[in-house]
Every structure is written in structure tokens, then in C-alpha cells.
């Protein structure tokens, strides 16, 4: 549905987007993840035709955005980082304006009511946008993006600035919309992509540093499994014992508690389950386990390690060049 090939956007000698290529299939929800200034918004702005790329191609449904701008724009609904709202209009006027702007040919009244119902703003229909709260404004922006039932929806940080309840509402809404549409959303909140997206693209400094299905991303990016165990017993001896267990590649004491127990972090290869050997070893020496949990390599770790790795490779390249 969406195909991006070697996209580059240059400002002077700074690259905002540096050779990005990816594809999004019909019906997929893809998350762009990356720190601020990584090039997420720029990529989205190019896809929607707001900005032009320096080189490379962005295609929607087989049509290049630069060659067929109107046809492509008709297929896309876009919510920019700041929702583009006219503050002096009422919600109803605003949505009617967008309906005209997109030259929709649906049943106007029914469609606008339907959209308002979906994003839960029916009660604010006749209010001026400038009097609405941030959460409502964001939802009006989303309503604007989905007017005309576009096949592709692009959300730039849709949950930005909302309270936790509203964030959950909007995530559910996006998942609901994603059942029939292709969605790209960007965020720097990691749990968000995990909760909403089928696939994750991690972007850093204008480049894609990871492209994985959400369910694979943790396993694919870091092979280690991590457990936190609280054990009562002499900490040095316990640690030494843990390190001897085959399969454990790393162990450390994370916290020593006042009751004589300590919490240990143990890492093992992903395919080996070390919980049983740990239990037998500790039982033999009568060091009781007080708690055990998988901490997993969480998305935060993955994200930081991926971004660091990318930075490191860039660094080594630079050093090599310098030498």
C-alpha cells in the first residue's frame, strides 16, 4: 500500500531523513519509533505531500506522491504533530470544512455524525474549538484525519499531551480504525507501539535501525532472557552459586535488602530456561527463593541498545575514516 524507496531529505548539509526505505502492506498498523528529531515527522510530512523529498520516492497504492499529488492525497488522512485546527470555528463547521476540502461524496450529515461518534466528540459538536481541552482538540484532529474514510491514515504522535485515560481511548480507537485501514503512527513512547502496532520501525538520526514485527522485536533484537530473583542467604556465596549454573551468562546483585535477602539479576540465553536449575541449586543449600520474575528485555532496553549500536557503528565508521 505504501512504498518508500531511498528517501532523503536534506536541509543544507544536515540530513533530516537519510536513505529510508520501507513498505507497509494493506491493513497493517506500523509504528515509527525514535527519539525526538529522528526524522519521523519529516518522513510523514513527505508521505502526505506537505514536504518534498530531496531524492527518493514515496508511493501510495502504486502512485508517486510527486507525480499524482491529488490522487495520493485523496487516499490519505493526516494528523500532524500539532492538530491543524481553526480555533474560531465550531467542531461542526470545522469538520464540514474538511469534508468540502477533501471533496467527499458521502452522505455529509450522516458521515460527520458517524466520525464524531467514533472519536467520541458528539457532545462538543457545537462548541468553538478554542474552548476545547487538549484531549478534545486532539480528537477533533483525529476526526478531521478520518473524514472521507481514507484508506491510509497517518498519525504523528497521536497521544501527545493527553492524560492516561485519553491515551487508552485513543489507542483503542487506532486499533479499531486499523481493522480496515492502513495506519502509520509515530511516537517516542515505547509501550504505545507495543500496544497498538503490528510492526515497529525504529528510526534514529534519519535512518531505519530496526524493522521488526512487534511480537518478534524483543527476541530478535536481544537474545538474552532476564530474571530478577530475591533470595535469602549469604549474597557472595549465592552469587557464586548462580554463576556456576550452566546456561547463565551473567549474574549480579541488584539490591541488598535489610532482612538478609538480596535481589539478583540473572541473564541466560533465550532458548534455555534456567529457573529449575536455580531452584534445585538453592534448595540444596537451603537458601529460600522469596520471589522470582521475568523482567524480560523490555522495549526501553531494546530501543536504547539499538540506538546506541547505530551511534557506535557510525562512530567506528567515522574513526576508520579519520585513520
Amino acid at each position: 500500500m505504501i512504498k518508500v524507496e531511498h528517501l532523503i531529505k536534506q536541509y543544507g548539509d544536515r540530513y533530516a531523513v537519510n536513505d529510508i526505505s520501507f513498505e507497509v502492506k494493506k491493513g497493517e498498523i506500523v509504528g515509527f519509533l525514535g527519539p525526538n528529531g529522528a526524522g519521523k515527522s519529516t518522513t510523514m510530512n513527505i508521505l502526505t505531500g506537505y514536504l518534498s523529498s530531496t531524492s527518493g520516492r514515496a508511493m501510495v497504492d502504486g502512485m508517486d506522491i510527486l507525480e499524482h499529488p491529488l490522487a495520493v492525497k485523496r487516499k490519505i488522512g493526516f494528523l500532524p504533530e500539532t492538530p491543524p485546527l481553526y480555533l474560531e470555528m465550531t467542531v461542526k463547521e470545522y469538520l464540514n470544512f474538511i469534508y468540502d476540502l477533501k471533496k467527499c461524496s458521502l452522505n455529509r450529515k450522516a458521515h460527520i455524525e458517524e466520525v464524531c461518534r467514533v472519536v467520541k466528540i458528539e457532545d462538543a459538536m457545537n462548541r468553538m474549538i478554542k474552548n476545547l481541552s487538549k484531549g478534545y482538540r486532539q480528537r477533533v484532529g483525529i476526526a478531521g484525519a478520518i473524514i472521507g474514510n481514507p484508506e491510509v491514515i497517518i498519525f504523528d504522535e497521536p497521544t501527545n499531551g493527553l492524560d492516561p485515560k485519553q491515551i487508552i481511548d485513543i489507542r483503542n480507537l487506532i486499533r479499531e480504525l486499523g481493522k480496515e485501514r492502513t495506519i502509520i503512527l509515530s511516537t517516542h513512547i515505547l509501550s504505545e507501539v507495543k500496544a497498538v502496532c503490528d510492526r515497529i520501525l525504529i528510526i534514529n538520526e534519519g535512518k531505519i535501525v530496526a524493522d521488526e514485527l512487534t511480537e518478534n522485536i524483543e527476541g530478535a533484537l536481544r537474545g538474552n532472557r532476564r530474571i530478577a530473583i530475591r533470595i535469602e542467604g549469604p549474597s557472595a556465596a549465592v552469587l557464586a552459586g548462580l554463576k556456576k549454573i550452566p546456561g547463565i551468562i551473567y549474574a549480579e546483585i541488584s539490591v541488598e535488602h535489610e532482612d538478609g535477602s538480596a535481589t539478583y539479576i540473572v541473564e541466560s540465553k533465550n532458548e534455555i530456561d534456567v529457573r529449575k536449575p536455580i531452584f534445585y541449586m538453592l534448595a540444596q543449600r537451603s537458601w529460600p527463593i522469596l520471589s522470582l520474575e521475568f523482567t524480560g528485555a523490555n522495549l526501553e532496553d531494546i530501543f536504547i541498545s539499538v540506538v546506541d549500536e547505530a551511534a557506535e557503528t557510525a562512530d567506528t565508521k567515522n574513526t576508520k575514516r579519520r585513520i
Binding site: F78, P84, D100
Partner: protein, 238 residues
Amino acid sequence: MIAIFKREMRSYFTSPVGYMFCAIFFAVSGFLFMLQTVQAGANANYTGYFSIILFLFIIIIPLLTMKLVSEETKMKTDQLIMTAPITLADIVFGKYFAALAMFGGCFLLSSIIYYIPLVMYGHPNFALYAGCVIGIFLVGSAFISIGIFISSLTENQFISAFGTIGAIIFLLFISSLNTYINNEAIRQFLAGISITSRYSYFSYGIFSYDSLIYFISLSAVFLFLTIRVFEKRRWSKS
């Protein structure tokens, strides 16, 4: 284009700007008309009224154009209209025609109203009167396109307004500047681009096609430049 036009028209009347424009226009133009024609001692020569009303444009045209584009840039709503399935020309022309409709509507209505006392108490030459109205309308439309262009250059409404005021003052006064310049080539050039000397044909009762084309092309050039400004943003916005 129609969607943009409708939104701009509505925006004029949901904010004080549209009402301010109408109020200032009718009050000042009515007063000037009375001074020039009905007032005792005045010579009932309405061409004087039309020449003076040009100077009212210094204030009222920027009122119409100052926020047309700059407000969109500032509120980031340009992202909405530039990603909608319409062309940049649709956007610029929609805005231009909205401002033109406001100005033209008030001006034509006032011209019709002021013609009534002229007919009641005198024998005005309709063709001359109509020629003046067309001439002024053309000058106004050219100023509006210049105002839109300046508005597209900044996201600050006030800079946009003052820039437009400056541009209109310059265009209205270059012909008087001419008296002080002792270089034939520069004088010719200034007379060529002067709004007032172009307009003066209409006030002499001459329907000058040169001037007609001059004013229309002046509008077209600045609308074209505005489209280019939008286009340029696509390439260089950071």
C-alpha cells in the same frame, strides 16, 4: 477552491475583522463622498471622491489580507490545506477571491448608493462614473494580491499588515516622487509602474485597456509569487 473561499468568508464574519472593514469602509467613504460632492461649495465632481478613496486602501486592504496566509502558517493549519487534495492555486485563489468579494461587495454597494443622490440632484455621466468604479476596483484587486503575497512571507499578522501598508503607500506615491527625480529613464520607469497614473485614465473618462491589463497582470504576478512561496516551503521548511 470553493471550500477555502467559504471558510475565509466565514472567518471574516466570525471575527471582528469583517465588521471592522465594513464599518470603516462605509463610514470613511461616505464622509469623503459627502465632502467632495454634497457639501456646500463642493463642485459635485465625483472623480475627486474616487481619487481620494484610493488612500483609504492604505488602511483597509491590509485589514483584509493581513492574516490570510500568515495565520495559517502560525497555527500550522497550512499542514491541513497543503495535504488536502487541492492544488496550491486553489488555496491562493480561494483566499484572493474571498478578500476580493469582501472589498468588491462593499465598494460596489457603496458606489450604487452614492450614485442615487448624484442622480437626484444633478446629471452625472454614467459612463464616467462606471469607469471610475471599474478603475478603483482593479486597483483594489491588485493591492489585495500584493497583500496576500506579503502575508505569505511572514507568520506575524502585524508584520504582514505593516508590510502591506508600506507597499501600498509606495505604489500610491511613486508618481509624486517623480517630480524630484532628474533622470528620464527612472522617471519613465516610475511612471510606468505608478498605480495613480494608471488609474488617472479612468478618471479622465478613458477606458484604457493598457491599464486594465496592467492591473490584472499585477494581480496575477503577485498571486503567482504567492503560489511560489507555498511551493518553496515544501522544499526548505525545517
